[in-house]
Each structure stands twice: as structure tokens, then as C-alpha cells.
Amino acid sequence: MTVPLLPLAACGVLIAVGVTLLLERSLVRILVGVIVLGNGVNLLIVTVGGPAGAPPILGRFAPETMADPLPQAMVLTAIVITLGVSAFLLAMVHRTWQLTGSDGVQDDTEDRQVRLRARRGELSEGVRQLRAAYRRLILDQRAELARLDAARAEREVLEETRRQELEPAEEKRVRLLGLREEDARRQRQQAAREKELRRRLRVRQREALKQMRAAIRAERERQALALDPELEGDED
């Protein structure tokens, strides 16, 4: 049996076009791809199904000159089936467009789960960094406070020894009083400064905590948006 080259080339082109379109993400293109692919395959069946010939109607032509009717019957069936399935696919494209506003094929569940897991990893990494920064801040503040405490304690010891030294001398009492006054003033200033510092630190701590909580909440919301109903329940 010789095979006509031109129809076979046409089959090849149609099937190639169909397969290319099938690989697209848009469902409309996939639909067109299915139709083109179907035509290519049907043409293939007719082409390789036997040589061309007279219509296979008994009584009008000699059986030897007739074309083989079997591939034709099969192609007719295949055409009808492709038609029905295309109609269904078209309805599904329409429904997808109604639901999502686009006709793209969505990622499959496993892909989305993997992506979600990656995003959750990023989130917990971010939270960990925020927590570490917060902890560092607190440590710095504690160190500063400890330094201040140490300085005060040292000053107190110094003052005590000086007072013991100066106790008996009467004329020095006045000067001591003056000194004491000055010292008390300085202490008050110091205490005020310290208080102010503590207050500022507290504010900064609160700020940092608030920032961290806001960041975590925003991240959670972003994640909740990304979650879709199928994936519910795999939150850990």
C-alpha cells in the first residue's frame, strides 16, 4: 500500500500544532489544541486506513474499486466524540472564567502545598529574626542599666568613706554640708536621667514588641489569603 505524502504531512502539522497548544496554560488554547489535534488524528486514520476509492455502496460500484468503509465509520464516531467532549470542555472553560475571571489552568494541590510550606518556612525565619533582634535590644538595655547601677554603687562607697574621714572636723562640716548638697543635687539629676533613660528604653521595647507582633500578624493574614479551602487543616 502506498501512502499519499501530502495528507500525512498535513497530519503531522496538525498534530504538532495541537500538541503545542495543549501545552499552554490557557484553557481556551487547550480547547483549540484538542480540536486541532483531533482533526489531525482523524485525518491520520483516514489516510492510513487504505487507498482512496469509490464510495462503498453495494450495487453501484465494484467491490474492488471501493474505499475501505471501516476507517470512515471509525472517524465519524471519533468526530462525534470529539465534538461532545469539546462542548464539555468549553462549558468548563466558561465556568472557570465565571469563578476565577481567567481561563488559566490552576496549579495542582501538591504544588500549592509545597509553595505554602516554603512560605511558612520564610515566615518562621522572619519571626525568628525579629525575636533575635528583640532579644539583642533587651540585652543591650540590661547591660546599660547594670553599668549605671555599678556607677552609683561606686559613688556611694566613695561618699561614705569621705564622710567618715571628715566627721570630726567642725569647720569642715559646713563645707561637707555644701558638698553633700551638691552631691544630693547631682544624685537627683542622675536619678532623673536614669528614670528618663529607663522610660525611653521601655518605650523602645514596647515599640519593638508591637512591630514584631504586627509583622507576624501581617504575615499570617497574607498566608491565610494564600490558603485555599482544599488545603484547610494542614496548619500545624
Binding site: 476507517p71 464516531t77 466524540i81 461532545g84 467532549v85 495542582d108 479551602p229 482544599e230
Partner: protein, 521 residues
Amino acid sequence: MESLISLPVLLPLLAAGLKLAIGVRLRRLQSLISIGTLVIVVVVSVRLLIEADTRGPLVTDLGGWGAPIGICLVADRLSTLMLVVSSAVTLCVMIYAVTSAYADQELTAPMGIFHPAFLVMVAGVTDAFLTGDLFNLFVAFEMLLSGSYVLLTFGGTQSRIRAGATYTVMALTSSMLFLIALAVTYAATGTLSIAQLAERFATLPMHVQLLVELTLLLVFAIKAAMFPLSAWLPDSYPTAPTPATAVFAGLLTKVGVYSVIRLEALLFPGGPVSTMLMWVALATMLTGVFGAVAQTDIKRMLSFTLVSHIGYMVFGVALSTVLGLAGAIFYVVHHITVQTSLFLVTGLIERRTGTTSVDRLGGLMTAAPLLAVLFFVPAMNLSGIPPMSGFLGKLVLVQAGVADGSPLALTLVAGGLVTSLLTLYAMVKTWGKAFWRESPAEHPGLVVESEEATGEAAIVTTAAMPALLLGSAAALVALALSFTVLAGPLSSLAARAAGELMAREPYISAVLGRTITGSGS
């Protein structure tokens, strides 16, 4: 007797047409038609099985054309055995679907759309089992696929449409491949009658044989969800309504496996493809079961075990010995029933609690002890705990693998045992979390989802279980258990079917030797 063969295909189709004509009225009559049709199909199938077992393959010509040119239906031991199991399973699922529709007062859509689509799918499945013509097998596939498209996207919710898009495009691609395979086959042999092909393929040059065999195998591998063509299955099946998922899981992939059995045993016996099939079987078993272990949703977990256990059947086929084939057939029969019953029970769990995620379930052991038993028994059966049929099926396959004795076959035996163990792990993990542990919520085992939370229609959750709903699931569980008791007759029947398949001669002479009305083209 021969005229009975067409009934399992014709009756569901007629019933589907009738129901489409009636529309949504006369609901009681409608349920009666659906169930009645399937009961008749079961009875006819059993009759055919007995007849085919005692008298050899039965053949009937359709449309008044003789066998090689016209389309014939062939009922041999394998196809009638598949027919009996599949019709029994579809009957149970149909009763489940009807009862749940009545119980939930959702009657319009199920009667108008669900039932006709379901019946068309059943007709496609029975036609695929019975057909003696490769092109008619394509038509049967298209019938069951178009039914399944509708069932999978039932209700048109977002998740189902998303899953449906993948499923439909995948199925369309395999259909196109099937047509190309048919074109090549017809060009090479001038016939599509399976019996005649079995004779003519042997005369073809090796490379043409291999081309045709591999193209057909590719098509059937997509249908049967064999690795690496299995990714579509766990993504699309779990979203469908419960009865649809159950019957998809039970039957659609098994139609693919059945076609592979026919292809390997009848059309290309002892070909060089079996080594490749062995590797495919190993990869299918392992990838599937690893997927199952990682899942937290029961339906997804079951879909992965479904893929995984396809590997056992492919293994049996790839051994291409009578024992291996008998093991595969026994395993198909066991797996159809067990997998369907597991999905039905999961549907009941969803109905009871509103979720199938094991992270949210808990305490079902006390809240619904009956469900716990109904899930536990088929779960253990699937994992292969003795003395249930899952164990027996695996035992036969292991025996066949050891009898083969090649290093690859022994690797597969080891792979099969590992898969069985991991299946047990996945099942026990699920059972322990959903049933055994303390309930995480204040209501034991009851999670009610609001409409916003799921984005779907609000799920009806109720503790009330109509007797028929539980009964249909329990009947399937019992059917799977009965294979233990009937293991002797069933495995000898499977062995006879395998013997008949490997001999090839009974099938070919039954189709071709009977009437010489045409000489092919």
C-alpha cells in the same frame, strides 16, 4: 444465553436515557429505575460468569455484522468476573448515592444529572470489559470518561472545576493517543477485532509490534495511573462527590488494568515489554505509598494508596505466568471492593464530621464506633493483614514472584512487602489520629465548618445515619471480607481465567471459529 451479553451495556444506557427524559420528576420511580437496572445487571453478570466458566467464552455479534468486521461482545472468565465485581460495587454505590440524596434532601441535581452520568459511566465500564473490538474499547473509554467528567465536576465548585480541568485534558490526551494507536494498528493489520489482532500481530515485524504495543500500553497506563503517568489521579479524585470518588477509585483505574491484562496476555504474549513493566510496577508501588504516608487528608491518602496498589496488579501481569496473572486478577477483584468501601466510609466520616483532614478529626472511636469498625476492617484488609483477602492476594503475587526467581522479580517481591508495610503505617496513622486519639474539639468528633471557611456549600453534618447508607458501605466491607471465606473458589476461578488467557486459543476460536461471515478487510 448469548443475547444476555449485551444487557449489561444496554440496560444502564437505556436507563440513563429514560432518566434524562423524565428529568427531575417522579423521584421514587427514578431511584427505582437506577437501582433496579443495576440489580438486573448484577444478576445477568452472575449468570454470564457461571455460563462462561462452564461453557467457555460466549460471543455475540452486534448490529448483524460478523465477528472480524462487525463489533462483537465477548464474555470469557476474566471479563465476566470483572463484570460481576464491578456491577456489585456499582449497585452498592448507587444505593449509597440514592440514600444520601434522600437523607440530605438534595434531590433535584442528583436525579437530573448525577444518576444519568453515573449510569453512562457504568455502561462504559461494562462495555470496556465485554468488548471484543479495539475501536469499541475506545468508545467504551469515551463513554465512561464522559460520565466521569460530569461526575467529577458535579456542582461546578471551584475546586472541582480545577481538578476537572486537569482530569479532562489528561483524559483527552490519552484518547487522542488511543486514536493514533488505532490508526497505526489498522494500517499495520487491517483489523481491529481483538481476536483477529491476536493472530495477526505475531506475523508483523518486531519493530512494528513494539510500536503498537507501546502506544497502546501508554494509553492504558494513563488510564490505570501507572507511574510516571499517575500524577493526575491524587489531584483529581479527592474533590469529587463521595459516590463518584468511590466508584472512580474502584473501577476506572481497574478498566485500565484490565486492558493491560488483555493487551499483554492476549495480543502480545511474552513480549520484551515485561521487564519494563516490572520496573514500572516497582516505581508505582513505592511512589504511591510514599505519597500516601505524607498526606493528612484521608481522601488524598486513599488516592495515593490506590496508585500504589495498581503496582501489585502490574507486577502480576508483568510476570506473564499463569500464577502471576491469577494473582493479578485476584488482586483486582479484592482491590475494587476494598478501595470503594474505604472511600464510601470516608464519605460517611465527612458526613458525620464535615471534614476528612486527620488534623481536625479525633475521638471518632467514641463518637461513632460503627464508623471506626467500618474504616478499620477494609483498612487492614488493604494493608494485607492475614487472613483477609488483601493478604491472600499479596501472598499469591509473592509466590508467583518467588516462582519466577529472577533478581528483578525478587526485588519486586521485596518492594511489594515494603509497600504493604508502609500502607499499614499510613492506615494506622490515619486511624489513630481520626479515631483513637482524644477529640481536639469540645464536641467529640464533630467539626462544623461555616460556608466562608470552606468556600464551598455548607457541609451538612449530622449524627443520624440512615440504615441504608451505613448498610451499603457495610455490604461492601462484608463483600471484601467474604473473599477470605471464598478464597478457594475465587482463586481457582482466577487461576482458570488466567489459564484461559494465557492459552489464548479459547478466546480466538470462540470469536473467529464460530461464524465465518466475513474475511476481514
